[in-house]
């Protein structure tokens, strides 16, 4: 069959080659029942509990997007929450229920009125109609108990090109860039939230193709050309070859190198055994941060030494060549754990957390964990590393090291195989930054926890909306703290990693490389795009960007410098 082309709007400057998979969820409700048979009070209650469940879902999906995609994608779910709680929606549904409609029909009618109203307008307002549909479908699914049609999207055959009339933002967020070769929709525009997600995920995408898209049959070979803004069915060899030159390369198998060949380690932040598999699937070089407190969450008792040993061995086996950095227990602060008797502190973020507990009330737990770690590291070729959280004095580091050495001599005496791990500290307090020139004498590496570092340097609680904006790692004070930490390692073998949200944002990769960071650790799904971002930057451009950002006096100037380097 000769190739056929349809045009739309390209939203990601990449191409993908794959097979058409149609996504066409069925949301028909059927006719409403006789109004006399409807109990308005009961229907109001159904609506309220669906709304509550929707809020909880949105919170969880927001967090997942912040972790796995980026902040602009996460913000989409905040907007959805605002639509969900909009007084015009609650009033509209209330009135429709009082008029004798069941909650689901009332929701459909109320949302559809605004969908139509938005679609009659231009530009950005029209594009928000997709967000309203997304919130509507979420409520309808919760009200009718229908299956989640989005589940199919999370588990597509390799090299799928997803075709749809429209994809809502939350559907797009489900797509795994490693399975999906591209997306094309009949509706939608360049600034739609769906486009934002596609861009953040690095997915080749063409939107606004129109009805012609529906002529493409399931299973057809397709090229999605995000550069030219077109979809080509049954592409000939020349079209395929052209697409391959802008294809989303599979960076999973190779280490990340800048355009000049400088290798940057791209590792994964993990918290569970499932994360280990996801990290390996996404091409992580190793584990940059194993948050061991998650092994303890939601269970009444702590895993014993044997169980911890097994998990650390599993992590080493998941990355036969890579490094595995295990952070010792970081409870306290905002991480309450059921099996710990944590004190009620007026200011937990400045309280007994991290290493402060491990050297104090949790000394036994710390020793158990260290024993498991030292034993697991036996025969690993020094690939296992231990990382201390919340360090603010040299004494803490010396004391922790002594305890680790004491455990090693016990194991020696017992004839247990073990190995001393590589030893590092989190740099997340201003004290650790200022002490970095002294700490280098005691450690093998630093890991910059930029979320907490921003919070403590800026004295601003990330979770507090009124000041959360201050806790942004792009503030000049935070960048200078990062730089000071890197500078303290000059002339030593101490390496520096970043394991905060910054590390997962491809827009900041060049800046971090320029600041002299050796390792970036991000959530598993973010690994491919961080690796790609490393490959897109030259050492000179990264250094120039870092110089500009370090010279900036305001966050706005930092953001502008990053923007200029991008364009």
């Amino acid at each position: 069959m000769p190739e056929r082309r349809v045009s739309g709007v390209g939203v990601t400057p990449r191409s993908g080659v794959g097979r058409a998979v149609w996504h066409a969820p069925d949301t028909e409700l059927g006719d409403p029942p006789d109004p006399e048979s409807v109990d308005p009070d009961a229907e109001r209650e159904r609506f309220e509990s669906a709304r509550e469940a929707a809020r909880a879902e949105l919170r969880a999906e927001r967090d997942r997007a912040a972790d796995g995609v980026d902040e602009s994608a996460a913000g989409v779910f905040d907007a959805h929450r605002q639509f969900l709680d909009d007084p015009q929606i609650t009033d509209g549904v209330g009135e429709a229920v009082d008029a004798g409609l069941p909650a689901e029909h009332a929701v459909e009618r109320t949302f559809d009125r605004f969908v139509r109203q938005f679609e009659e307008m231009d530009g950005r307002t029209a594009e928000r109609a997709d967000d309203l549909r997304d919130v509507r479908d979420r409520l309808l699914r919760l009200l009718t108990g229908a299956g989640d049609a989005r589940a199919d999207l999370a588990d597509l055959p390799d090299r799928s090109v997803v075709l749809a009339e429209r994809l809502t933002p939350s559907e797009t967020a489900r797509l795994d860039p490693n399975d999906v070769a591209g997306i094309a929709t009949a509706a939608g525009g360049r600034t739609s939230h769906t486009a934002i997600f596609a861009k953040s995920l690095g997915l080749p995408a063409v939107v606004g193709v129109g009805d012609a898209l529906h002529e493409v049959a399931e299973g057809t070979d397709l090229v999605v050309d995000g550069v030219a803004g077109r979809v080509v069915a049954d592409p000939d060899d020349a079209t395929r070859a052209a697409a391959a030159s802008t294809a989303a390369v599979d960076v999973r198998d190779a280490p990340a190198r800048t355009a000049d060949g400088t290798q940057i380690e791209v590792a994964a932040n993990v918290g569970t055994r499932a994360d280990l598999r996801r990290a390996a699937d996404h091409g992580a070089d190793g584990v940059g941060l194993f948050r061991t407190e998650f092994l303890l969450a939601d269970r009444p008792s702590q895993p014993d030494e044997a169980e911890q040993y097994a998990v650390y061995r599993e992590a080493l086996e998941a990355f036969p060549e890579g490094r595995v950095v295990v952070r010792t227990l970081d409870v306290g602060g905002d991480k309450p754990i059921e099996s710990f008797d944590l004190p009620d502190e007026p200011n937990p973020f400045l309280g007994e957390r991290g290493i402060r507990r491990s050297l104090g009330p949790d000394a036994d737990r710390f020793e158990t964990q260290v024993r498991a770690l030292l034993r697991a590291g036996a025969g690993s070729g020094g690939r296992l590393s231990v990382l201390l959280p919340m360090v603010s004095t040299v004494d803490e580091v010396v004391a922790a090291r002594e305890r680790i050495e004491a455990v090693a001599s016990d194991l020696d005496a017992a004839g247990e195989p073990h190995a001393m791990p590589e030893f590092g500290v989190m740099v997340e307090t201003p004290a650790a930054v200022l002490l970095a020139p002294d700490l280098v004498d005691h450690v093998d590496f630093f890991s910059l926890g930029t979320n907490d570092l921003a919070q403590y340097v800026m004295a601003a609680d990330r979770g507090n909306d009124r000041v959360g904006d201050l806790a942004d790692a792009r503030h000049p004070a935070v960048l200078r703290a990062i730089r000071a930490t890197v500078e303290a390692t000059a002339g030593t073998d101490v390496w520096v990693g970043v394991c905060g949200e910054m590390a997962a944002d491809p827009g900041l990769t060049g800046l971090l490389v320029g600041l002299g960071i050796d390792e970036l650790s991000a959530s598993p799904v973010a690994i491919p795009r961080v690796k790609r971002a490393v490959g897109d930057v030259s050492d000179a451009a990264a250094a120039a960007l870092a110089e500009r950002a370090l010279g900036a006096a305001t966050r706005e100037a930092v953001v502008a410098a990053i923007g200029d380097a991008d364009g």
Binding site: G75, D78, A79, Q82, F83, D86, P87, Q88, I89, F114, Q117, F118, M121, D122, G123, R124, T125, R128, L132, D465, D469, T554, R555, E556, V559, A560
Partner: protein, 89 residues
């Protein structure tokens, strides 16, 4: 009734983050706040739907009106959202 007239500075107009921040401030305020194009009808500023429905873009001139407790302080905050480039919000 206290009111402000401002020309919209953020690149995204009252969409995306500036819109979300604007609605959130209005919703959290004890005052009743409405917003309109200077030549249009006012709508509830605490409603994301209503504010999005206005389609306010960068460069538009808008009027914000508040009545009740803390009206002036709320208007100050909203004026800041309207007149601050997005990166500084």
């Amino acid at each position: 009734m206290p009111e402000r007239v401002a020309t919209v500075v953020p690149e995204d107009g009252l969409h995306a983050r500036p819109g979300a921040t604007f609605v959130e401030i209005a919703a959290d305020s004890d005052a009743d706040v409405s917003v309109a194009h200077t030549d249009g009808d006012p709508v509830n500023a605490a409603s994301m739907l209503a504010v999005t429905g206005l389609g306010i873009e960068q460069g538009d001139e808008v009027r914000v009106i508040a009545e009740g407790d803390g009206a002036e302080a709320t208007l100050d905050e909203l004026e800041r959202v309207l007149t601050t480039p997005e990166a500084e919000l």
